[in-house]
Symmetry: C2
Subunit: 804 residues, 2 copies
Amino acid sequence: MPVPPPPPLASPLWRSLRSYQIFGANTEVGKTVFSTLLCKAAARRSPGGVAFLKPVSTGPDSEADDRHISKFASDVSNKTLFQYKIPVSPHIAARVSNTTIPSNDTLLFQCRDYAAQCANIGRKWLFVETAGGVHSPGPSGTTQADLYAPLRLPVVLVGDSRLGGISQTISAFESLRMRGYDVESVVLFKEDKYQNFSYLSEYFAEHHNVPVAGVIEPPERKSNLEEDVRAMSQYYEEQSQDGNTTNVISHLDSRHEERIASLNSMATEALQNIWYPFAQHSLFTGPKDINVIDSAHGDYFQTLAPSSSSQTDSLLRASFDGSASWWTQGLGHANPKLTLAAAYAAGRYGHVMFAGGIHRPAAELSSRLLKGMNSPRLNRVFFSDNGSTGIEVALKMGLRAAKLRYGWAAEEKLGVVGLKGSYHGDTIGAMDCSEPSGYNEKVEWYDGKGHWFDYPTVLCVGGKWRVNVPEELRQALGEDADFGSLSEIFDVRGREEKGHHLRYEAFIRETLERLQKQGRRFGSVIIEPVVLGAGGMALVDPLFQRALVNVVRKSPDLFRKPNAPIEESPSSPTAWTGLPIIFDEVFTGLYRLGRFTSSSFLETYADISVHAKLLTGGLVPLCTTLASEDIFETFNSPDKTDALLHGHSYTAHPVGCQVAVESVKELQRMDTSGSWNWAKSQGWTTPEASSSASGQPAVDIWSTWPRNLVEDLSRQTDRVAGIWALGSVLAIHVKDAAGSTGYFSDAAQSLRDGLIAGDAEGVNGSWNVHCRVLGNVLYLMASQKTTEESVAQISLLLRKGLNA
Amino acid sequence: MPVPPPPPLASPLWRSLRSYQIFGANTEVGKTVFSTLLCKAAARRSPGGVAFLKPVSTGPDSEADDRHISKFASDVSNKTLFQYKIPVSPHIAARVSNTTIPSNDTLLFQCRDYAAQCANIGRKWLFVETAGGVHSPGPSGTTQADLYAPLRLPVVLVGDSRLGGISQTISAFESLRMRGYDVESVVLFKEDKYQNFSYLSEYFAEHHNVPVAGVIEPPERKSNLEEDVRAMSQYYEEQSQDGNTTNVISHLDSRHEERIASLNSMATEALQNIWYPFAQHSLFTGPKDINVIDSAHGDYFQTLAPSSSSQTDSLLRASFDGSASWWTQGLGHANPKLTLAAAYAAGRYGHVMFAGGIHRPAAELSSRLLKGMNSPRLNRVFFSDNGSTGIEVALKMGLRAAKLRYGWAAEEKLGVVGLKGSYHGDTIGAMDCSEPSGYNEKVEWYDGKGHWFDYPTVLCVGGKWRVNVPEELRQALGEDADFGSLSEIFDVRGREEKGHHLRYEAFIRETLERLQKQGRRFGSVIIEPVVLGAGGMALVDPLFQRALVNVVRKSPDLFRKPNAPIEESPSSPTAWTGLPIIFDEVFTGLYRLGRFTSSSFLETYADISVHAKLLTGGLVPLCTTLASEDIFETFNSPDKTDALLHGHSYTAHPVGCQVAVESVKELQRMDTSGSWNWAKSQGWTTPEASSSASGQPAVDIWSTWPRNLVEDLSRQTDRVAGIWALGSVLAIHVKDAAGSTGYFSDAAQSLRDGLIAGDAEGVNGSWNVHCRVLGNVLYLMASQKTTEESVAQISLLLRKGLNA
């Protein structure tokens, strides 16, 4: 087995150690003077308990900040991690130094190590001083504000007291704040001419509730070195005892306590105040069951670690966001590009009225989505707030279109044609698209309307890729069939050439005929292409879904009124026939399964298509329902009341649209630039499919999760019923001794418990995997930015959990 | 009539004039050198067509930037608006200058005037140079980035080439970007030691797609003045012809064209790609019916003005956001506090999984809301995305509670008790809470379940405040009654002392008894306290709603099964009795009507309460459904399937929660600090109520809209059926000759057309009022930040429109 990569980084936080990062509003603003003052003032309260860390220093040794600290605060332990002699920005100094340039991870891990050492030996304070301004680049070239964000140390910002310093200080503050830093204190020199201190004290009090401390400037440099040292010593002695400085230390001390108190009380408070979604509260045994999230970065939450009595245990640990935060996450938590997109739209518009209006972000998003779908059918965008509302919109569209074409009476309740186990959302209209189940049976106004087909599923079982036919359907559809790879199963055109679809189509047509005879009326087809998410992470044989769409489209006779005259055929070749086909791509679309649209797996196009979740990369709610022109035309009439009467207040809110533009653009960029080649080469893109009997070219199917992991785990047949991976999703169907399946089964819990326990012995703090189960299915969902290293770490935990 | 205040500011944009604002990453970065270079380069393309504006300048005249421009770019017209001699920040210089400090508005209007003059005389280019860094304070003390935001001139950012300059340039860019500025170009000196140009070119290309231009540094200052001038002249001559500079000018020229092209094409594109909410597309006559929004600030959109052939007409005009962007807007568009709150949460978390998790913004918002409601009943918060989903959650809560207490069977469909014309949202569950109407009659799955009471309404008619009893109810409730003021009508306790409620209660009880005998079953009461919004802006007699709640609460006998044993009384005095009472405060709550909660007008408390729209101050979608502990307990059981099975992916998204914390805090601050005293004193807070016969103290009822405006308009009885104002809402019920009323009436259109036409002759560009009608009702909704001046301007238009 290969050597595991280093575990993810836990943000440094210990009860006993007050750690602060010192950022400067600019270079030459006195960071080192303030560091020295704060170290000295802290050391007065905690003699021998103060440490100072300079991760990266540039300039000659004689002028290094650690020397300055040693000289004037001799009882403070101090350390520099990387020292470069040339007095330029670290990214240049590192490049010309002829030494290995430390990666961002190296820097972060070493900072954390040093903090951990400080905590272990009982230090009380740690000040970590950055170099230059907040956005001065670190050795790798990443600016420090981005580089150090995963540590999320609270900040002391040294303001600029010179001409122009007001601007520098506020901008630096904003750059930090928008990266989630808590700036706890602003300090700067008091100076009479520009009076920056006076302005900034008021400004920060009014706008940000952050205290600003002013300290008198150090004495002018003396030409005589000894005199100079004496003068500075005196300055430090006096100023470190001055109220201006000691108040800062007291404030930082309280803020540290408050941060920890808040982390510790939040779960209890939540259990008192919050009503959790999809949660049986009586099953919470106490605050420990609540995941307290301090922050999140990339794929990892920083969560409150299980409580420990030891002062030297880190309070936070890294938790892989294994549900992709309920399937929304794509571009990493706290992605600065998305943050700035949100801030830009907020600053340019706030929210603006969309009814009868247009703004750039909505216009751009609409055309980008329509173009990305590359569908001859879809050319209209309707905005709403989430998948559930988007489905309600789709339903209003589809049902009206069918009702008008077939001339159903107003009181006729048309049903949908769907698949068993499908789930489309929590509002009543969306719920009514699903068959009765544990999700809805106790919901008072639920009233499912439709027919839901059972279907063959795809699983890797005992190392083999298999299309599983449910017992009841074997007579109609035949036995289970094994394939050499997932690609072969997804080669729907190749399989059609072999006639695999004929039994599917016959079965579907016969069923619909029978229902028609029973007097059932239908108004739309609604399916989640390829994967049924909330219904239990079922990977449906794509050929079956394709067959369903094809049968419906060529069979208007199944849906018109008995003995009705044949309605006129739509003139456009892209108009809907049979029934409007709604694809719910809320979960499956926008690269979750590796492609822009999951409809492409079925090699067909929807008449109405719903997109949410990944649409904003995982930042804010937004949904779009795309529709074809002929569906749209159904609502066009001289009569106002024929309009689609739907519209939420924040329809097409600019923040969501701008973030979505940024997200979709970035996902498309990653796609075309080969960002996922590492994943595709994990056994997924093989010559198998192309050399298959069908003679078709390889079908592009791939996953973030390695093929050999999937196949190895599938061989643990005593516990694993089957497993599949596609795009960033991995779903392990666990065998349940009690035979219970579905959402309310407990079968996958023990596997989940192992992931939640995680690796408690991690070198850089413990870490774990936060994940969710759907009954007997444990799934893991990576983001579209997840790294090969993270996948390798989690794979090890999974193999351990299943002894594979 | 008083002199009208100056009209609102239209952002300066003319087809013929390329206006750019020059911001500096810091002071002393060469802004004036770059201004001169850009002016000269532009003047080469358009001789005599370039202007330069320095709004505020500090320092001795001899060093003023306009002198520099005159000296080195003599064919450029240039102007300084405010010159202060002391070389310090303008806010200090202005304060010590012994002259009137220009307000932000004065500065903005003068900038716009100058730009308008430039456009009128055919100038092609205008460069507006700021002072110091982006956040250096202007004369009033507001930082320039905030001060100039309403102009939203595109920006040339002069970067900093010195040590630390990378950081300064990026932070300055971010501060501008988050205020909605489009930074079109970054320019800075090329310098070898720090190589900022090289870093920043790559950085801005990768992160922001903004070109960075590097220009060689000017020659060192010469001691001989003449030589100095000669050297500089030569530098300018050479560099203004150099490709580095001319490329900037070409780029700015194209960006100007692109901005205008985008504004001009957006409406056409929208009509092709967008499916609008609540819109009959066939009634759009063309692109001119689409409101093209370039940006928004405070209460005003900047919209594309009706097209004109003249090159000298401004392309943008200010439009008062008279629907408060579909009732969401409270704290002004592009409020920097809300922007920074959104950015902070995005940078700290992105979105994080809320099922079983907690984060600071959600925790803080929950406790702030519960505390703000100050209700003995509400102590749980459930999060969703918008009012409609929040209502579905409330329904699931209320109906389940009633079903369990009264032991109704699963298949029994319980209805709601509501009011005629109420509207609770667009999803099917929310729609089913409303009686059949034009809003839902063509929606296929709509199936209204309930009984909807008719009720007395409140209107000012012919100058009198009247409770209007519908014809059909007069026998039961008595005749219309006039009151001296709105306060008196809202004095529900006082009116109860007089027995006004007795007929209401008797009528309600008798109706419910009758329905019970008919076999009707009910599961919840759901009402919008005081104002029915989408149902036509009806102000309901609060005493009637209070009576409804009181009757239901004291009459469990009306809701239990026939002959059922009397169920145990709830042990808690705050538990629900009769039926759970749901208050839909989505529109009416959080200060829209002047108070934190609109339930306080009824002097009662809900068991379930829904809050959205103003919750985030008007920025992003978020909803909370608050519930009482005993409603919550209904769902507690050892059985997972008894849980409230509802939860959207972005449940309690941190961006929304953080923005909501900031918004609610700010609204509460405004409330307690008397920010609305100017509005209250517009005739609303009078001694009338306190000296009324009831002897009660004055009931605190007030509106942003002056009482005399309301009363004057109400006297136009030929056109006005009645009018009311409360909080920031003004509703004018227009008489419809054809007798048509309701959502699909056209009666209010002509009044609306007058507001939309607005004031085309405005000195500072034309402006208008963007507003919506609900059938025969024209309403205007101000934000909670709307100024007395804006109200005065709009009042004039209203009086003109109604000849009042």
